[in-house]
Symmetry: C2
Subunit: 145 residues, 2 copies
DNA sequence: CGAATCCCTACAGGATGAGTCGTGTTTGGG
DNA sequence: CCCAAACACGACTCATCCTGTAGGGATTCG
């Protein structure tokens, strides 16, 4: 499947944007400081997120990013696939699975498919709005900013 | 999660053993040829599988491997964890998730936990006996050996 | 005895993940 | 009007790890 730090950071960042939805744009630097994410690395992630149409960029001073849709309309799956590529191709079902007809080595591949589907379901069910809720509760409890 | 070729090959190999359960031991070379898996690489996988107690080795001429339990008593999860290590630590929930109390960056981590659980459920539900069934049907259809 | 087979360790090479750097472009504000 | 803040893009490094190979040793059957 290949879930890397990109997904981790990217999700944290988009949750942060969801928390600030409706207000002005939030700069990458701000998020990187607040959530302890390497700044230049985060920048790259935002490029991918923007290209996937999930966030909108505002360049120049006082610029930043905001979600381009309502947080309820963006799922974890959207974020993950924007950053890592399509889920299907990332579990184990590559060449060998398609060589099915020949070497018949694919009773195994049915398991990977099921696994991918299960993962996809979890990700598709969870929206940023939902996570923003939990996140705000957490932030409030730890320190009132 | 980190699902690599080890799991792919390992599962194919153990399914093969499940198909031959009750008969004599099957050599690594035989499986490597039948399923087109690099021989020396497969050897290594069997070492891990043996250490995990999933297979039993018979050394010497006419030796080989057999499942040490009934195929219905071995799940895909057993095989995967024997080869890749515990599932929990492999999705995304490492340090950051435990630093929860401090930087409050873990609304995200709840998603990874759910994902891991979903994956684990799929793997834990599927037994080698089940897969051996499908595999035999496939092998029969492609060529009657 | 000898061939087959498993057992163990080490190692190589390539991919990729994680993160940095330099530079360019846009834009709001003093 | 110009500068600083901010995004945009691509190249690049560094380490890890996946994939697979190699060589030798230990067992066991015929």
């Amino acid at each position: 499947m290949r879930l890397t730090a990109k997904s981790e950071y990217g999700l944290i960042a988009t949750i942060d944007l969801a928390c600030n939805f409706g207000l002005g744009p939030v700069s990458a630097r701000e998020i990187s400081e607040r959530r302890e994410i390497p700044a230049r690395f985060l920048e790259q992630l935002f490029v991918s997120l923007r290209r996937a149409g999930l966030v909108t960029a505002q360049r120049g001073a006082r610029g930043g990013f905001k979600l381009s849709r309502d947080p309820e309309q963006i799922t974890v799956l959207d974020v993950v696939e924007a950053l890592e590529g399509p889920l299907e191709t990332s579990v184990c079902d590559h060449e060998r699975a398609s060589g099915c007809g020949r070497s018949a080595s694919c009773a195994a591949s049915s398991v990977w498919s099921k696994a991918t589907r299960a993962l996809r379901d979890v990700f598709a069910e969870t929206t940023l709005a939902e996570l923003a809720g939990t996140q705000e509760a957490m932030d409030d409890r730890t320190s009132v900013v």
